[in-house]
């Protein structure tokens, strides 16, 4: 009898748990949301928005997971290959997002955008980054450009009165900083993409929009003269040894912002999210305050690109294929003007929604936003604009330029080989 009662007990538990699972599944909606904010007040902002939405919609549960940038890329890849994407997740748009769209892993939200004029609230250029073959798969929240964040105090100490306007001036300023015993540039080249910004900007300044379009459309090649020259210019910089010790193994997540935030390096070529990171990584959590300045990437003498051309990108959220309609509704909620103003106030996003520019109070970020808006040619970071394999080769090859293990010709050839294979 004892044996049978045990078996009955186990079966009973199985039945009860099965029933409970079924019951639970029928009731509320759960939305999974993955973002990449690790700065405290930024995490709090997202959580706050989720809490307000959940209070207004009691049947919706929003499960938020915040990842560090590199971890997110790893995690997302695994989850994409298993075919079960999260409902809302961080996306930089462009080539990587296009791969997911091609594989049918994203939800087509074109219809949602067309309803009630939601589409018109966004800056068209920014929204376009999150579309593929005429269909929309996500929305932006932030679009900006990469530029130089610099420590005004350290520049003054080295005797630099004005930020450099040309590449030659930049090299001269680097030398002045070295002479004053200040680390000129903070660079986390272990992550590879921070260094890629340097080469990509040089290529943008030298090749211009025409040069990039030629190579990318496969009419030309990434071994054309401008791309080799970009490598040569980069070598000029590397030869001055302007980076902190051990920069080839340093990371963006920890080393770069710590150096800048604590005033141990003079400048950092980075995107619009930099100030928040500098503050968070500094020892006193306050960062540089008004010692922080910004200037755009200098002009390169003889380059075909315009001095106002911008390399940049932004952040947004893509929608996974299994997302319920409530997820898109929540996405609309966090894209509202109020939300964008709140994001701008804490330096999380440079708004892309009309009317939210007023939220940008920081004079530095205003400069970035104005620069972005004024750019005639806006180039998305190469490792997002092009297919992931090519982007990865760009990052790896540029690291070779920084380490001196690749010549400009070899780096350009590696990129060209990858582009020839991947871009068809």
């Amino acid at each position: 009898m004892k044996k049978y009662s045990l078996v009955l007990f186990l079966v009973g538990i199985l039945l009860v748990s099965g029933v409970l699972t079924v019951l639970a599944a029928e009731a509320p909606v759960t939305i999974t949301w993955w973002h990449i904010e690790i700065v405290e007040n930024q995490i709090a902002l997202w959580q706050g928005l989720a809490d307000k939405y959940m209070a207004a919609h009691p049947n919706v549960t929003i499960e938020i997971t915040g990842y560090e940038n590199e971890n997110f890329k790893t995690k997302l890849t695994t989850v994409m290959q298993s075919g079960a994407p999260p409902d809302l997740f961080q996306s930089w748009g462009g080539g990587v997002m296009n791969e997911y769209a091609k594989a049918g892993l994203l939800l087509d939200i074109t219809a949602y955008l067309d309803k009630d004029g939601w589409r018109d609230t966004f800056a068209p250029g920014a929204l376009g980054v999150y579309s593929f073959e005429g269909k929309n798969y996500g929305v932006p929240r932030d679009m900006g450009m990469v530029g130089f964040w610099y420590n005004k105090e350290l520049f003054a100490k080295a005797g630099i009165n004005n930020p450099p306007a040309t590449w030659t001036e930049l090299l001269a300023d680097v030398q002045k900083l070295k002479d004053a015993n200040i680390t000129p540039i903070a660079l986390g080249e272990g992550d590879k993409w921070p260094g890629a910004f340097w080469w990509e900007y040089l290529a943008t300044r030298i090749a211009g929009q025409a040069g990039f379009t030629e190579a990318y459309s496969r009419k030309g090649s990434f071994t054309d003269a401008p791309f080799i020259q970009a490598g040569e210019k980069l070598q000029e910089l590397v030869a001055l040894k302007p980076f902190q010790s051990g920069f080839l193994g340093a990371t963006w997540g920890v080393d770069e912002p710590t150096l800048m935030g604590n005033g141990e390096a003079a400048m950092d070529l980075m995107g619009q999210w930099a100030p928040g990171a500098f503050n968070d990584s500094s020892t006193d959590r306050k960062g540089l305050g008004d010692k922080l300045g910004w200037f755009p990437f200098p002009m390169v003498e003889g380059g075909a690109g315009g001095s106002a051309d911008a390399l940049g990108g932004g952040n947004g959220f893509a929608v996974g294929k299994n997302a319920p309609p409530e997820a898109v509704d929540f996405l609309k909620y966090i894209s509202s003007v109020d939300s964008q103003v709140a994001q701008a106030k804490i330096g999380l996003s440079l708004p892309v929604v009309a009317g939210a520019e007023t939220g940008v109070t920081d004079p530095m970020l205003k400069l970035v936003q104005q620069g972005t808006a004024a750019a005639k040619y806006f180039q998305l970071y190469y490792d997002q604009a092009m297919p992931p394999a090519v982007g990865s080769v760009v990052n790896d090859s540029v690291q070779g330029l920084f380490a001196g293990t690749l010549t400009p010709e070899q780096a350009a050839q590696a990129i060209e080989d990858s582009a020839a294979q991947e871009i068809k």
Binding site: T258, S392, D396
Partner: protein, 313 residues
């Protein structure tokens, strides 16, 4: 008339029962092995066959594999400088492990084996690194190796020595592999030490006592008695160490991702980058198959080599 040859009948009957019993015995064995076999087939054998299949394609990882390229991936692997470099690094780690890590673990085990005061304490702290996850270990050592003496413990100690400047351990192509090997040794020597300790327990004390009576000194005891008697443990540890060194992944990926500029590249980081960063899973699968073949060749050769010594005993 029925003639009952009782004796033969009994013999025949019991033969039948014996063979049925043997069959039943075999069935029980098969039944108990079945779950483990099923897991083995589903999670080990089947994915390997899938990998072999995908290695013949150019495949992004999403959707079905359609771009058949045959053995092109394998040709590419064998001609890629970076892959050959990664194999070289793997072999270097194997050699270093066998010549530094294992002897260190053995020496410690021999010391621990004696009645040393605080044996249990030392055993515990030497084994602790092994308990940490590889990811935590990697992150911890990244902090320890920070090139700034104000933040990195290793450099803080180093710069105390007059004249020595801080070394960027993970940022310098000439020191990065050594730095990673130090972490590997730190992490795994405790495991091998415990393995050897267990082996030492199995030496019958009478043998040692007899040797002592015969007047052997310490060195002779170790080289002629102790080590030969834990021979099979040593052979097992060599086997585990070589395979582990060939396949090391998490520590390297966390600390350097194989960089800078492939200076710490190993086969597994190479495979990972092509599969999950560049989305070229067909090529990555081919790398995985090559890794499997290398490990398999070593494994079979080694087993054959030590078979005489261990199995005939």
């Amino acid at each position: 008339m029925k003639t009952t040859l009782v004796g033969e009948d009994v013999v025949v009957l019991s033969k039948k029962t014996r063979s049925t019993r043997r069959l039943q015995g075999r069935m029980t064995i098969v039944l108990f092995l079945l779950p483990a076999l099923a897991l083995f087939l589903i999670f080990l054998v089947y994915p390997i066959f899938q990998s072999v299949y995908y290695s013949l394609f150019n495949w992004k990882g999403f959707g079905p594999a359609v771009d058949f390229v045959g053995l092109d991936n394998f040709k590419r692997i064998l001609t890629d400088q970076i892959f050959l470099k990664s194999v070289g690094h793997g072999l270097l780690i194997v050699v270093l492990s066998l010549s530094i890590q294992l002897p260190l673990a053995l020496a410690l085990a021999l010391m621990m084996g004696r009645s040393l005061r605080g044996r249990a304490f030392f055993r515990t702290i030497f084994f602790m690194p092994y308990i940490l996850s590889e990811v935590i270990t990697g992150i911890m050592w990244m902090i320890l190796y920070n090139p700034n003496p104000n933040r990195g413990f290793v450099n803080a100690i180093l710069t105390l020595i007059p004249g020595i400047k801080a070394i960027p351990w993970l940022g310098n192509t000439s020191t990065v592999l050594m730095a990673i090997f130090i972490v590997l040794t730190w992490k795994f020597f405790g495991f091998y030490m415990l393995l050897y300790l267990a082996g030492l327990q199995n030496i019958p004390p009478e043998v040692e006592e007899a040797a002592l009576i015969d007047g052997v000194n310490n060195r002779q005891m170790i080289t002629h008695i102790t080590i030969p008697l834990i021979g099979s443990t040593i052979r097992t540890s060599v086997y585990l160490s070589v395979l582990g060194s060939l396949q090391v992944f998490a520590l390297v990926w966390i600390m350097t991702k194989g960089g800078p500029v492939n200076a710490s590249e190993v086969m597994s980081t190479y495979m990972y980058r092509f599969s999950f960063v560049r989305f070229q899973l067909g090529y990555g699968s081919a790398v995985a198959i090559v890794m499997l073949l290398i490990s398999l060749v070593f494994s079979l050769a080694y087993r054959r080599l030590v078979r005489q010594t261990d199995y005939l005993n």
